[in-house]
Amino acid sequence: MTKTVYQELIVPELDAGDAGDAIRQFGARFLAGGFVRDTFVAAVLEREEKYPTGLQLDGMALAMPHTSGEHVRRPAVGVAKLKKPVIFGHMGDEETKVEAEMLLMMAIQDPDAQVDLLRKVMGVFTNQEALAEFKAAGDFEALYAAATKYLG
């Protein structure tokens, strides 16, 4: 199984003023770790503007910012909990806003090759036990453990 969870992409307390700030800060870690090209953050921001990725799930709102594969060097998923919730547009619905508590940011190069990762991320969305563990994770160790368990 390809590794997809990395310590440097686990952030227990991301202090961001708004969605763009959160994406820029978290995206900088993806860039620093060599997971994405320097075009990644701008592409994610542009996509988020046009097609927002906030999701109101059962028990938690989160966002899953991402973009297309040409901006990605190696696949990964990062988990950042927001120090205070940040407003994202809801996917598929321009009118609805969500107060995202967590970012699941994905660097996907080829969806067909990274199908396991897509399955796992989607599995978290619909798994209330997993969401509760992410929600309860208050420090790096707990968040890394949850990410490894459900996304690794």
């Binding site: 097609y51 990725t53 059962d58 991402h66 619905d93 969806p111 897509l118 991320v121 989607m122 619909t126």
Partner: protein, 100 residues
């Protein structure tokens, strides 16, 4: 198993639509359909549809244009709230076209 073809649409044309496509294929199989899926963004939907033979469009990003092919919202596939509704909507479209 009936063979059907579904276009899955999301903003990037790759990631969320692939997630939805995975689940649609699995859940339609349980309902007796062998679904082939393709993914596109809203802006590239028209050119992908031009390859022909699509029975339905499953959207997680809004598709405003009318291509003469039934559109259903597939957001419930991602949130897990309303998965069955999405499949029921799809099956209804397919049954209207092919019969039960």
């Amino acid at each position: 198993m009936k063979n059907v073809k579904i276009l899955c649409v999301c903003g990037s044309g790759a990631v969320s639509s692939s997630m939805v496509a995975l689940k649609i294929r699995e859940m339609l199989r349980d309902r007796g359909y062998n679904a082939a899926t393709m993914e596109s963004s809203p802006t590239s939907a028209e050119s992908v549809l031009a390859s022909g033979g699509f029975d339905a469009i499953a959207c997680v990003s809004p598709v405003y244009a009318d291509f003469g092919i039934p559109k259903i919202s597939a957001l419930g596939m991602l949130t897990g709230m309303g998965e069955e509704q999405v499949i029921n909507d799809l099956v209804k479209v397919l049954e209207e076209k092919y019969g039960k």
